[in-house]
């Protein structure tokens, strides 16, 4: 995993924290492009990290903050330390990364909201164009009038110009924050956007900080041309104990918190090995809790009788792992099934209906494509010419062809070869009609074949077969064609 490698970075960073609070724009020049991490020195006491401090903020509010951010005090503390005092300049750009549902957006947005700091939160996935990103940012920071100043098709420089213009009218009293969620999508937009945003503070000459949130490490972001290095902050995965603590917080009001936390314990025992996504776990917990409580409702067990409750819920959870967790069965259906007490077999999962009905020639085209993809072209003579003479498997093959073709995956083949094999495997004479050719392209749209390379039909197109062996075995069985006899790997 790419995330693991950067844990060290985080450690370094923690140890250099105190300087960050005094950090201002003046020292930036000295830091150089990669100086964001290197420039800090000194050590920090654990005490400072564990407590949240924010100048000018009452202790009561900080306490409520702490309650809202369980198991993320350290990260929140670091962030607050980086932010510094409201009127001070903040570090120009901060990059926060960590797996899904590790509280990145939650922590930063809670902080900004609770402390009533001016900020704009934009999800990059929504911004189909950079213009939308600028518009939403300006809208959130300066109100609707400013966004209207943007021209059609705004570029980064338009944004900077407009920002400066409105900023002159409303100068910053405290640091403004721009939070960009799913920042990895910025890489796909204009090339100058990401480097520009990283240096936005400098460009607009305002007390503004850009906070990027992503699931991907910074190394994958760094443009070729180099850019200003943001501060990196890693949100590690929750540990099992932390998950237990967080999940236990949302206990059902009609039952005791102890019962709920023992339920969560059982749930984590089943699911922790496959899923550490907090959101998903919370969803699963909610889905299965009613089943857990069933013996209590019926009066068959007491709350203290954990063993009985465990015996009741465990197989149920295991089944949930195979079905509802994989979205084979929708959560609504799952809930209904629980109520109806039906057998699990009654519900058909999504992958249960893998059978695909195809027209007769399409089946043969697909079979031909499969053969073309998994047999070396040189062996076609052996399989499709009647009097091919003797050919031993080992003697006429090059070394690399001796490894199983099924391990290597499908290889591309030209249309001619596909048709040649098609005509020799299909048992009747087939006229090369338009519909045979159109079937090839409809197989492509159905994603059973994929077209490789250029899409110029005049210049011999190439295809790959995209179906599995099981699928093609099922297909060839319906037309009673013994495909295994024609596959080089199986002779």
């Amino acid at each position: 995993m790419e995330l693991r490698t950067t844990n060290i970075c985080m450690k370094n960073f923690k140890s250099r924290l105190p300087d960050v609070t005094f950090y201002s724009r003046e020292s930036e020049a000295a830091c150089g492009p990669r100086g964001s991490v290197v420039g800090f020195s000194g050590s920090v006491s654990e005490k400072m990290l564990s407590g949240l401090h924010y100048p000018g903020c009452p202790e009561a509010r900080l306490r409520s903050l702490r309650e809202k951010l369980p198991c993320r005090e350290v990260q929140a503390g670091t962030l607050l330390a980086i932010m510094g005092e409201p009127e001070q300049y903040c570090y120009p750009s901060i990059f926060i990364y960590g797996h899904r549902a590790t509280g990145k957006s939650h922590v930063i947005l809670t902080l900004l909201k609770e402390l009533e700091l001016p900020h704009a939160a934009v999800s990059c996935v929504e911004c189909v164009s950079a213009g939308l990103l600028f518009e939403q940012t300006l809208l959130a920071l300066f109100g609707a009038d400013s966004a209207a100043l943007l021209p059609r098709l705004p570029s980064l420089s338009d944004f900077v110009r407009v920002y400066r213009q409105v900023c002159a009218q409303q100068p910053a009293k405290q640091t403004r924050y721009i939070v960009l969620e799913r920042a990895e999508l910025l890489r796909d937009m204009e090339a100058n956007l990401l480097p520009g945003l990283l240096r936005l503070q400098e460009l607009v000459d305002d007390n503004v900080a850009v906070i990027l949130l992503s699931e991907i490490v910074w190394d994958k972001f760094r443009p070729n041309t180099g850019c200003f290095e943001p501060l990196l902050l890693h949100f590690p995965d929750y540990t099992k104990a932390e998950l237990l603590q967080i999940l236990s917080l949302d206990s059902n009001p009609s039952y005791t918190p102890e019962l709920y936390s023992s339920y969560i314990n059982i749930l984590l025992g089943v699911f922790y090995s496959v899923c550490r996504d907090l959101r998903e776990l919370r969803h699963l917990a909610a889905l299965n809790f009613s089943k857990f409580c069933e013996p209590l409702e019926k009066g068959e067990a007491k709350e203290g009788n954990t063993h009985k409750l465990w015996r009741n819920i465990e197989p149920h959870l295991k089944r949930a792992m195979q079905t509802v967790y994989l979205r084979e069965v929708s959560s609504v259906q799952w809930g209904q099934q629980q109520m109806d007490e039906k057998e699990a077999t009654a519900l058909r999962g999504l992958s249960a209906l893998a059978h695909v009905e195809l027209p007769y020639y399409s089946k043969f085209l697909l079979i031909a494509a499969y053969l073309a993809s998994y047999n070396p072209a040189r062996t076609d003579r052996r399989f499709f010419v009647k009097h091919h003479g003797k050919m031993k498997k080992t003697s006429f093959l090059k070394k690399h062809e001796k490894t199983s073709n099924h391990l290597l995956g499908p290889k591309p083949f030209p249309l001619d070869r596909l048709l040649a094999i098609f005509y020799s495997v299909v048992d009747s004479r087939v006229a090369p009609t338009a519909s045979v050719f159109s079937q090839i392209s409809s197989l492509v749209t159905l994603q059973l074949l994929t077209q490789v390379g250029h899409d110029d039909q005049l210049d011999t197109p190439k295809y790959k077969c995209a179906v599995s062996l099981d699928f093609i075995l099922a297909i060839s069985r319906t037309v009673s064609f013994d495909i295994v006899r024609y596959l080089y790997d199986f002779i």
């Binding site: 996935v125 929504e126 911004c127 189909v128 164009s129 213009g131 939308l132 518009e135 939403q136 059609r152 098709l153 799913r182 949302d250 059902n252 009001p253 009609s254 959101r279 998903e280 919370r282 969803h283 917990a285 909610a286 889905l287 809790f289 009613s290 994989l326 979205r327 929708s330 959560s331 609504v332 259906q333 058909r348 999504l350 992958s351 209906l353 893998a354 059978h355 695909v356 009905e357 195809l358 027209p359 007769y360 020639y361 399409s362 001619d416 006229a431 090369p432 009609t433 338009a434 519909s435 045979v436 079937q439 409809s442 749209t445 159905l446 994603q447 039909q457 005049l458 210049d459 011999t460």
Partner: protein
């Protein structure tokens, strides 16, 4: 202008004749000698309207079930959106977008109709806000957003990239394309709707906040990235917008998991809906459109075979099948002047009266009519060959016979199918259409399959046979003709007799011959008895049940023999039966490669110029340049040297110009020939026969295999 390039120039000779032609004019123009073109067109039109309406009704009936369950699902989801209370479970649950995965099968052309009726139904009963999007109009996320927003809000949404109209920039309010805009719009619309249309809403049956249904017509064809991003965005707004997705899936539901990663598919709450398979669909269509005496227009076995094989081998599309039927209908009425008689009873009688002398002559030349004449008495024959009026009367009679034949044919066909459809190995075909086709082509009772089916039927146990006979009786019940009524009567009699058999049989005792076997221990005696038993088994007296069974089956065999005769034997069948399967195949299952090759190797076939007529395998040197170049390239290997090719071409063309073979510049390449050659080669390249290659300079590669 030299003659060879002249072949390609077709000046439209009469531009003045370019007028807007009414569709019915084509029927008149085709055969100017027959006055009944317009009538035929009208009959054809009427028939087609009827067929079209019937198929639409049929489609609706077939889709009813799945669409209803889909609607229920959507309604249920809408309710759950509204009743999203603050109870614990719903608060804890991740907010998923309700999604219906609609598995429709690979017959993509048919899906349009289903989606059309789905969105009609939605508009009528659930929500005014439903949009359907296709993959080809949504190559990027912004296109998808734009389509969805445009169709929902009914206004132009600007994607910032379309610069075309930036010159005439109107001061209109720009609507940026994001879901948040949609959110605001939705809020205002529902608020307004609530305030003003409170009454009408209740009347329409719309719920208070109708859901927004987005239908992805061809799920597989969508770019996975686009879909993923769209779902991610929508998920952010699910609390404000009651969104529901419908995925139209052609292959199998597991493609959802292939296209969407778990992180995205976990945002959806997918429920599966499976539609009827297309083969069942086709069976119903054939049942309702072809196996009925309702329509006077019929297909012969070969034509039906062509249509069915296109369906089974190529596209699985019922819509294309019906289109094929339409083409056959048009062709029949266009090419067969006597098809004016192919209509309902009254009309046919009327039209038969009005037949002109020419038409009557045509009737006389019909093979089936000639056969009919031959079977008549000599005096009658003379009458038929001389008197037009008499022919007209006989025509009416024969048409009546034909109608009767159809009325008897279909019920008996169904009976035979219902009897044989459950036999092992399906000797007469699993589907009724197979039986129908074999009945159309020959006397079905002469085939081996029929014989084996009958033998199997003679082995049926009583309860099976009675059940099958009951089914037959049900089929025969709606029959109106006398013959059908009497057949039904007889069949019911047989059923009653089978039932009575029980009572009579229960009294009798069956003595088994094995009883007295144990007494005899003598070897000789034993052999003797065994021989006796063998002989007695051969001539064993049949039980009353067996007798009755044979009797019943003989009766059914008689029905088959009298009613399932092939239509070719019926006089005047040409009026109703469309038979040119070749035309249909050429039109529906075109072979572009073959026609290009024909055009290039036999230019006479298309150009009809006498000079180009040559023996097989050769091309006249006067043929168009491209044909000469094509012919020369066939003689080359995989790589073609361009200069050699040019030389050969110049020689051939010089011969065509009639130059003296001994002259000095014979076969020399001049600029004109060079240019013509290059043009032809690039035309060949455009047609996909050659392409430039980097393997060798001055060479092109052949793209077709096979020698000359």
């Amino acid at each position: 202008m030299n003659e060879s390039s002249g072949c390609f120039v077709f000046k439209p000779s009469s531009k003045k004749r370019k007028r807007t032609v009414g569709i019915d004019e084509y029927f008149v123009d085709g055969n100017d000698d027959c006055g009944n073109g317009r009538e035929r067109f009208n009959i054809c039109q009427k028939l087609w309207e009827k067929i079209k309406m019937d198929t639409e009704i049929l489609q609706d009936e077939l889709n009813e079930k799945i669409l209803e369950s889909l609607l229920d699902f959507i309604k249920k989801c809408t309710l759950s959106f509204q009743s999203r209370t603050d109870d614990w479970a719903s608060r804890m649950r991740a907010s998923e977008i309700p999604t219906a995965a609609l598995v429709l099968g690979v017959n993509v052309p048919d899906h349009d109709m289903t989606f059309q009726s789905l969105s009609d139904l939605l508009k009528n009963s659930v929500t005014p806000f439903s949009v359907s999007v296709q993959a080809k109009e949504c190559t990027a996320l912004k296109n998808l957003m734009q389509r969805v927003l445009e169709r929902l809000m009914g206004v132009g949404v600007s994607v910032e990239e379309d610069e075309e109209d930036s010159g005439i920039h109107l001061p209109q309010k720009r609507v940026s394309c994001s879901i948040s805009v949609l959110c605001q719009w939705y809020k205002t619309v529902t608020k307004v709707g609530r305030r003003t249309l409170k009454l009408s809403h209740c009347k329409n049956g719309f719920l208070q906040s109708p859901p927004i249904v987005v239908i992805f017509k061809d799920f597989e064809a969508f770019n996975p990235r686009v879909l993923q991003d769209f779902i991610l965005i929508c998920n952010r707004y699910i609390h404000e917008l009651p969104l529901i997705f419908v995925f139209g899936i052609a292959t199998s539901p597991s493609t959802v998991q292939h296209i969407l990663p778990h992180s995205v598919s976990s945002l959806l709450c997918i429920e599966l809906f499976q539609s009827l398979s297309c083969t069942q669909h086709l069976a119903t269509v054939i049942d309702k459109l072809i196996l009925t005496s309702q329509f006077p227009f019929k297909l012969t076995g070969k034509v039906l075979q062509v249509l069915v094989s296109i369906f089974l081998y190529h596209d699985f599309s019922v819509r294309n099948f019906v289109k094929g039927l339409q083409l056959a209908l048009l062709e029949h009425f266009h090419s067969q002047p006597l098809s004016v008689l192919c209509c309902k009873k009254q009309e046919a009688r009327h039209n038969a009266q009005k037949l002109s002398h020419k038409d009557v002559e045509m009737v006389r030349q019909l093979p089936s009519f000639m056969r009919y004449v031959e079977t008549q008495e000599p005096q009658e024959q003379v009458q038929l060959l001389t008197s037009d009026d008499h022919v007209k009367e006989v025509c009416q009679m024969l048409l009546k016979g034909l109608r009767k034949y159809h009325k008897n044919y279909y019920p008996i066909l169904r009976c035979l199918h219902s009897l044989t459809a459950s036999l092992p190995k399906y000797p007469l075909g699993k589907q009724i259409r197979e039986l129908h086709i074999s009945c159309l082509e020959k006397n079905v009772w002469e085939t081996n399959e029929y014989e084996s089916a009958m033998q199997l039927l003679r082995l049926l146990a009583k309860d099976e046979l009675v059940a099958a006979l009951r089914k037959c009786a049900d089929i025969l019940k709606p029959g109106k003709t006398k013959k059908m009524k009497s057949a039904l009567q007889q069949l019911e009699d047989y059923i009653i007799r089978f039932e009575q058999l029980d009572e009579t049989l229960s009294g009798e005792e069956i003595t088994s011959p094995g009883k007295d076997l144990q007494k005899k221990t003598d070897l000789f005696q034993l052999q003797k008895t065994l021989l006796e038993m063998k002989g007695s088994r051969r001539t064993k007296k049949m039980s009353p049940f067996e007798i009755l069974r044979n009797e019943t089956l003989d009766f059914i065999d008689g029905l088959v023999r009298s009613h399932l005769t092939p239509p070719e034997l019926q006089p005047l069948n040409e009026v109703c039966y469309y038979s040119s399967s070749g035309v249909l195949r050429r039109h529906l299952n075109a072979t572009p490669r073959t026609s290009i090759q024909t055009a290039l190797s036999h230019p006479f076939y298309f150009l009809q110029n006498e000079n180009l007529k040559t023996d097989a395998g050769t091309v006249s040197s006067a043929a168009p340049d491209i044909c000469i170049v094509y012919k020369l390239h066939l003689e080359c290997g995989r790589l073609i040297n361009l200069y050699d090719w040019l030389e050969a071409y110049a020689t051939v063309v010089s011969a065509a110009e009639g130059k003296d073979p001994d002259a000095e510049d014979y076969g020399k390449v001049d600029e004109l020939k060079h240019a013509r050659f290059i043009q032809s080669v690039s035309e060949l390249e455009f047609l996909g026969f050659v392409k430039s290659t980097k393997q060798k300079t001055d060479h092109v590669a052949r793209l077709t295999w096979g020698g000359c």
